[in-house]
């Protein structure tokens, strides 16, 4: 089996661009998901009755349906009611929808893990709701959630491959296009695999290191 290295080199610029798109979609989705999750977490912490149920409903809906269906719904179905979006926008919207739910769960777990005693001692020195949140709950919940947050970030980055289904030119879409045009299947798949391993494996190793370092610093673990 011969490897057309020359061809691979010629495609490198395109793949670099594709990695850029992957990162772009991924990082924007991470940021927006985080915002959604922070909003939800605040609602959960202060136990606003009606909103709390709404958050729960949203989380269940987003986590129990496939990203692909959500994506198709936004991209193909919404135009029928007059909302037309680009593939890129549909990708961001749906990944925020999904990512927000996952990150909400992570933050909720983090907040739950902060001992009740912390809240009580905070209140007993007269902290307001906002101050309690800012100085007592979020910092502690944040540290506890960090590994899980990071793991979900990696998950979102990997899920960007799904948005290739609506023609967003990330790494998988680029690979498929080149295969369709040039038939260099073997070479293109090899490049794709290499990119995935380099990008995602390194991130996953970083996560392991982060988990280990946090365990050393954590009291009583």
């Amino acid at each position: 089996m011969t490897f057309d290295y020359a061809f691979i080199l010629s495609t490198l610029p395109a793949f670099l661009k594709a990695v850029g798109v992957t990162l772009q979609v991924g990082l924007i989705a991470i940021a927006t998901s985080l915002l959604v999750a922070l909003l939800n977490a605040t609602i959960l912490v202060f136990r606003t009755p009606y909103l709390q149920k709404l958050v729960g409903f949203y989380v269940e809906l987003a986590r129990n349906t496939p990203l692909l269906i959500q994506l198709f719904f936004v991209y193909f179905a919404l135009p029928a009611v007059g909302i037309q979006v680009s593939g890129f926008t549909a990708a961001i919207i749906t990944m925020t929808f999904l990512g927000g739910a996952y990150l909400t769960e992570v933050l909720r777990a983090g907040v739950d893990a902060v001992p009740q005693a912390q809240l009580e001692s905070g209140r007993s020195i007269g902290l307001s709701h906002g101050q309690l949140l800012r100085y007592v709950i979020l910092p502690q919940a944040g540290i506890l959630s960090l590994p899980s947050l990071f793991a979900n970030f990696i998950f979102l980055l990997k899920e960007t491959t799904v948005v290739s289904a609506v023609a967003v030119p990330e790494i998988l879409y680029t690979t498929k296009s080149y295969i369709a045009i040039y038939y260099k299947t073997y070479e293109m798949l090899a490049v794709l695999t290499l990119i995935c391993v380099l990008l995602f494996l390194s991130l996953s190793l970083l996560l392991s290191r982060l988990e280990r370092r946090l365990q050393h610093g954590q009291f009583g673990s």
């Binding site: 349906t65 990203l67 269906i69 719904f73 299947t185 391993v197």
Partner: protein, 219 residues
């Protein structure tokens, strides 16, 4: 003449059922194989045989680093080229989901076995149990309870991820839905129905997993 929404769904039911059958078959097969494979992985990892651990670790990291959709394409496009094998997309999907699912269930199993007190293993060995008996009578029965809620979550993810099979050409419930949309343009209805289809399968599983976790951690 355009039929009303529910009428359309009713008429399309046979086709959708066939597609759903494909989706669910892929899911159930993958779930079954993943469970067996995962428990096997968990047991093998806890045996602490260095070379075996290395191989299993590489397998795990490969399925973690490479997204499932990429794996689907790798197998679907790559198998014919590498091995001259032409696997129908249905079986490609089952293969990928099973291997990926097994790595996920496997890590759950490994974690559960690892969390058992070391003394259980020693007590079992001290009455002369061999490895198979130790795992079969002592370790796995105890690990099973701890494993179940996270494993159900893996099952939910397998079902959701099986939706990707449509992208390598499986005529599953999504493909059928798209075919109906092509004829009738009822995209909101159909995609909405697909949305609910997956929700009503996955939500009960998630809820069950949470109930079991709460009940069993109180024990």
């Amino acid at each position: 003449m355009a039929s009303s929404g529910l009428e359309l769904l009713w008429i399309s039911l046979p086709q959708l059922a066939k597609g759903a059958g494909q989706t669910l078959s892929i899911s159930f097969l993958s779930i079954a194989i993943s469970t067996v494979g995962g428990v096997l992985y968990g047991v093998l990892r806890t045996l602490n045989v260095t070379w075996l651990n290395a191989i299993l670790r590489i397998y795990l990291e490969l399925f973690r680093a490479i997204p499932v959709l990429v794996w689907l394409y790798l197998l679907f496009f790559g198998l014919p080229i590498f091995f001259g094998l032409s696997l129908p997309s249905f079986w490609c999907a089952v293969l990928v989901l099973s291997l990926w699912g097994a790595s996920e269930v496997g890590e759950v199993a490994r974690g559960a076995l690892h969390s058992l007190p070391r003394g259980q293993r020693e007590a079992g060995l001290s009455i002369g149990l061999n490895a198979a008996q130790l795992y079969g009578y002592v370790l796995l029965p105890q690990a099973l309870k701890r494993m179940t809620p996270p494993t159900i979550n893996v099952y939910t993810r397998i079902i959701k991820t099986s939706s990707l099979a449509v992208l390598i050409g499986v005529v599953d419930v999504i493909k059928v839905g798209q075919q109906i949309i092509e004829r009738t343009y009822e995209s909101v209805l159909i995609y909405g129905a697909l949305f609910l289809f997956f929700f009503f399968i996955c939500y009960p599983l998630s809820a069950a997993s949470r109930v079991l976790e709460r009940r069993w951690t109180q024990a």
